[in-house]
């Protein structure tokens, strides 16, 4: 057991930023908006989380800052794509480039400084239970938030009226508009939620995963989150499976390498991608259901006047 615990802890750490960013993007895409700027929102969240923590001494303030930083980026994206109706793909890519550059500038003063790590929330009694307590109930607040978000998003999307409205807006914005729902308002909220989650994912990187600020530290995780949303066919529970599978395989392949298993390291590094794609494609093999899950208006701009 004792050998397994640290491995599981590492897997949770590797999976949480992907899960956080992806669950936000899932809501954004469900409302019909494709925001390819996840990487950019994440990295700005990472630098702001680190900066505010370093200046205030409180990693919790840092978490809040990373969330608002992600939302600010998302607001900009929302204004451009929803109000000015710019191309969502191009704007999303621009947001990523902007985020990478902006974060480098903002973070210049914090290079080479060790950060403060977000503390583990110790739950009296529960955290000491062997295994379950030491692995699952000895986490920092962001891990709990990420798991709670999956449950909340599932419930919200499929069991509440507001969730139905989001899906309606994403599937057929003209009809939703005709029924009297404000498409732009719904999409703004969805985009902001996506930004907040991406920001938190970035904060997780600079406050828990590796408590430091270095330029480009997201290293493509935003793109993995985007891919996870598609391969999970916009379903929250599949997303949870996908994120944890990706995290697990990427950690276990290091263990396999360290144990001297003779597979080429290039193949090992590709394994998380391969395994996640294969598993999620198998889960989503029913094409009719997958098509029904795909937001039909994804990426299409909406103008109330037309």
């Amino acid at each position: 057991m004792s050998a397994l615990e640290p491995i599981l802890l590492t897997i949770i750490t590797a999976s949480t930023p992907l899960l956080l960013a992806a669950i936000g993007e899932l809501i954004t895409e469900r409302s019909g908006v494709l925001n390819l700027g996840v990487e950019g929102m994440m990295i700005v969240g990472a630098v702001m989380g680190f900066a505010i923590t370093a200046m205030s001494g409180s990693p919790y303030l840092g978490v809040v800052a990373s969330m608002f930083a992600g939302m600010a980026m998302a607001l900009l994206f929302g204004f451009l794509t929803l109000n000015l109706m710019t191309n969502q793909v191009a704007t999303g890519l621009a947001l990523t480039i902007l985020g990478l550059g902006l974060s480098g500038m903002l973070g210049e003063a914090f290079i080479g400084q060790p950060g403060i790590k977000l503390p583990v929330l110790h739950i009296p009694g529960l955290s000491d239970i062997p295994f379950i307590g030491t692995v699952l109930l000895s986490q920092d607040i962001l891990v709990y938030i990420s798991l709670a978000l999956v449950a909340a998003v599932y419930y919200f999307l499929f069991k509440t009226r507001a969730g139905l409205v989001i899906r309606a807006v994403g599937d057929n914005h003209t009809s939703a508009h005709a029924l009297g729902y404000s498409v732009l308002k719904v999409r703004y909220l969805a985009v902001l939620f996506g930004g907040a989650c991406s920001g938190l994912a970035g904060g997780y990187l600079s406050l828990v995963y590796t408590p430091q600020w270095v330029e480009g530290m997201t290293a493509g995780r935003g793109w993995i989150a985007l891919a996870l949303v598609v391969f999970a066919s916009w379903r929250p529970l599949r997303l949870l499976v996908g994120a944890y599978l990706f995290g697990a395989v990427s950690v276990l392949q290091f263990h396999a390498q360290a144990a001297g298993i003779g597979l080429p390291s290039q193949l090992m590094s590709a394994l998380p991608y391969l395994a996640t794609i294969v598993v999620l494609v198998i889960i989503s093999r029913n094409q009719a259901v997958t098509r029904a899950n795909t937001p039909a208006c994804l990426g299409r701009p909406f103008s109330p006047d037309r």
């Binding site: 080479g112 990187l205 590796t210 408590p211 430091q212 330029e215 480009g216 530290m217 290293a219 290039q266």
Partner: protein, 357 residues
């Protein structure tokens, strides 16, 4: 000014324009191309420190420009070409992956001088330079074998290229000189720079029982994990003691300053030649950060080895050396040639894992 010129070069790159030098000034223009951000606190950061030192040393006589975050391949070619086209006289292209792109540009701009780090292709106007980093790795191997209780170290590599493999082999030879049974677990992350993956790799190694961590990747993440888990670690490219106050045993440091100043001076004097420079601990191009967090005995032994390397009387790769499969690589007393070092694509005896092709 530097920021401005950097901005201009970046803008020129973005617009696809050659920034022709409109002002005929007499300052020598020296350009630098980096693979990472100057703020990586590692490899590119060290090159940039040397660039700043060049500016400070020559004052008005030299003007420098840098382009950071350049990936290998076509992007590198564009970056080097922009510098060549915008009137730079000397261009330092600082990553192995820039070798072929730099050579291509060098052929098109015969009047511009090029300097490529860590590669092996030269031309009439293209010199190469590199550090014998493996010398420092040998010392680290000795320290590790003396300090380790489990007799096992973990080594995080970026890619299985000769530059990295050489370091691993030197480390192993250093460790075996103390403990012939010493084990090294190798993990490849297939990236020079991904703090998260580097941290995951370090955790996996510690979970498998190593109590020393080596890295040939660029972020301080493995050091932080070492500090967290209470094992020894060696930093790469910069002294990162702040990240691991009670864990960092030493750090491999690259000091490019003397070389850069020497080369710029040579161009100013008109004595520049396309040389092949390979500097080790003896020339000061490779250094070790102060040795900390080990016993005095370990420290003294390491310093004795460093002194031998400084005087040039000792070569880590001296036979008998056997390859992993047991075949003899170097006969008793024979020292390795630079060609053999450059093409090193095998593990020495003692590694358990196979080297990926």
């Amino acid at each position: 000014m530097r920021k401005l010129s950097k901005f201009l070069v970046t803008a020129a790159l973005a617009l696809g324009l050659g920034a022709g030098s409109s002002v005929a000034d007499e300052a020598l223009k020296v350009g630098f191309v980096y693979v990472g951000p100057v703020s990586d606190h590692g490899y590119s950061y060290q090159h940039d420190l040397a660039r700043k030192a060049v500016e400070a040393h020559f004052g008005d006589k030299v003007e420098t420009t840098f382009i950071e975050n350049v990936p290998g391949g076509a992007d590198a070619e564009r970056a080097v070409e922009r510098l060549a086209r915008s009137g730079h006289d000397l261009i330092f292209s600082t990553s192995f992956g820039f070798m072929n792109p730099t050579l291509k540009v060098a052929k098109r701009f015969p009047k511009v001088k090029f300097e490529h780090a860590t590669g092996f292709k030269r031309a009439k106007n293209m010199a190469t330079y590199n550090g014998r980093f493996y010398e420092a790795r040998y010392v680290m191997g000795q320290i590790s074998a003396k300090a380790s209780e489990t007799g096992t170290a973990g080594y995080i590599g970026a890619y299985p290229i000769p530059e990295v493999v050489r370091g691993m082999n030197a480390f192993m030879l250093g460790a075996q000189s103390v403990n012939p049974e010493f084990k090294v677990k190798v993990v490849w992350v297939n990236s020079w720079y991904d703090p998260g993956r580097e941290a995951d790799a370090a955790k996996a190694l510690v979970d498998q029982g190593v109590d020393v961590i080596l890295q040939h990747t660029d972020s301080p993440a493995p050091l932080q994990i070492a500090q967290e888990r209470g094992v020894l670690a060696f930093a790469q490219a910069s002294d990162n003691i702040k990240f691991a106050e009670t864990s960092q045993a030493s750090a491999l440091l690259n000091d490019w300053t003397p070389y850069y100043i020497e080369r710029v001076q040579a161009l100013l004097d008109g004595t520049w030649e396309p040389t092949d420079t390979w500097g080790g601990i003896d020339t000061g191009m490779v250094k070790l950060a102060p040795i900390r967090n080990v016993s005095d005995e370990v420290k003294e032994a390491a310093e004795a080895t460093i002194a031998k390397l400084e005087s040039g009387e000792f070569e880590p790769f001296t036979g008998p050396i056997y390859k992993q499969d047991g075949t003899l690589f170097l006969e008793e007393g024979v020292t390795i040639t630079d060609e053999q070092l450059l093409g090193m694509n095998f593990f020495v005896k003692g590694f358990d894992a196979a080297l990926p092709n």
